[in-house]
Symmetry: C2
Subunit: 335 residues, 2 copies
Amino acid sequence: MIPTIRDVAREANVSIATVSRVLNGLTGYSDKTKQKVIKTIEDMGYHPNAIARFLNNRRTQTIGVMFPAVTSEFASAVLQGIEEFALERGYSVLVCNTEVDGNRTMKYLQVLRERQIDGIIVVSEVLKHEYKHLLETMKVPIVLVSSESDDPDIPYVRVDDRQASYDAVCYLINKGHRDIAMISGSPDDPVAGRPRLQGYKDALYDKGIPYRSSRVVYGDFHYDSGGTAMEALLKQDKGVTAVFAATDEMAVGAMNVALQHGIRVPDDLSFMGYDNIRLSRMIYPALSTVGQPLLALGQEAASKLITMIETGKVVPSLVASHKIVERQTVMDLRT
Amino acid sequence: MIPTIRDVAREANVSIATVSRVLNGLTGYSDKTKQKVIKTIEDMGYHPNAIARFLNNRRTQTIGVMFPAVTSEFASAVLQGIEEFALERGYSVLVCNTEVDGNRTMKYLQVLRERQIDGIIVVSEVLKHEYKHLLETMKVPIVLVSSESDDPDIPYVRVDDRQASYDAVCYLINKGHRDIAMISGSPDDPVAGRPRLQGYKDALYDKGIPYRSSRVVYGDFHYDSGGTAMEALLKQDKGVTAVFAATDEMAVGAMNVALQHGIRVPDDLSFMGYDNIRLSRMIYPALSTVGQPLLALGQEAASKLITMIETGKVVPSLVASHKIVERQTVMDLRT
DNA sequence: TTGTTAGGAGTAACCGGTTACACAAAGTAT
DNA sequence: ATACTTTGTGTAACCGGTTACTCCTAACAA
């Protein structure tokens, strides 16, 4: 039988209250008692039951992390950041992969509520009305990563997608490119879709380059759609010298299609991605891209969430800085 | 204040036992009572507290998953498999990333014990003696993924690495290659190191090709080491027509170095990887490799673990089937 | 000497459920 | 009519901790 605090108390000839106090480093016992209790605990191999403790603390020291896709490198890097910070602060992380279908999100939220988690981090997923309603009744702090909400009580941690996209396109323009196509995600996507497209448009506008809708094609953020988009682009617009994609995956998909067509990269066509996932430096030629501090985003999100949990106050949002990662897929056209 | 079962009982004019029975679908109440209770629960927005329930069930419906690296695609695919199956069966998953340093494993095991998790899945990590001792005192079922233990009480789920490696090399030989190099992981690694190297040697032996130690170079399973290994290989042995790497990451790293050296793939040099991570089809040319059913490995592991938890019996291990994934990096040398 | 205070330790209520057991009423067999 | 089930429901103990409150004693100030 696994020993309980009562067993320890009996064995050490003290009360359970005293054992509890020693365990929690509270005051109210002599040093002699402390030694006796500690020794008994070790002799018996006693380990406190966190579940029982949680029951009256009303804190489970657990946070739930919801992802649309754990398998994406983006998500797993963020997860690692969250997890590292959480462990340090004594919190555990429950993963919730909502990828498969929409109902899973609701199901998971129910599970998280029943498990009395202390807070939730939602990664790159927009809070639908349905979820929000449920979340409100849970009265639990929430932090968003790479997403945003109009609710001032829900802070977010993300980079400025429009600005990052703007900078990427400016980078291309500064390298002498004027005929730049974009492979965008869905323009309805408020996180990685619309703002990145807007950044592209703004950069062109500011640099005096006319925007042509034939130079924008749409994918679903993932690898295969990048290839499909590239095929379409090759058909509809010949004069392009550079392609900017809203995600690295799409950039790589597009680049591979170009390579299959015998197009040389970057000599004939330049590519620029967005995310700086590990993949981007593992391909040949290595992809130039926009870097997001993924690990740090995760850590920041965990930090904010835990602060909210422990202070009960709302914490300000954070716009983390991005950077242009220069590799080998962008040609310098200036002579 | 969040309503408890007592609040519901009072409101519905029944005892807490009755509410509990309705909640758990037990027998022993009239239909009228049931309706009344259900209505009250809904009206009050009552949700049972899983923590309190766990306290007397002695089951937390939680499993811990330990990884050396969540960020690796391998791990995240397995995690997804585990998580999917677990959710279906009402279990939640606590992720434990032991990547950073060795002490974290011990720390995490302590956390898992205190949290009274029902079982542990250890992914591609060998159980050190230190861990094993602790695990034994926890008296909790364990399942290994892509690893092995001499303890018959610890089942594993993995592919036959030696055989898979053997098949990969035979595949190359059947395509007419005789000068095959290998980029191995550490030969001390009992999971992905030694067996894969052995498979390579066995295949050569069986096909009557002499083994040359100058054709084996060692990496650490990750991307960069593949490149380094390739550099070494290019220096020490010129006549190679194919390179087999113990992981896709190393294969890709090696291939990129080859491309940088102006070597054409697969025309001048063929490459074969191992793992079939997403990356392998995202590069150009797409990497031929050995496929492991990662998602299924995860699901199987979760399934076995939950069976062990619920029946208390040890479950047999599983050797899952691998397959050769033909893509574009292997040249057919037969005229 | 007496009153006050602080420190060490114990008792018991409580957190929010589950469940063994008790019991009354209604139904069925004899 | 009596004895025995069955059904519906309640009471209270229990899971393993935390903590408010109480009590006793020794030390110290007046």
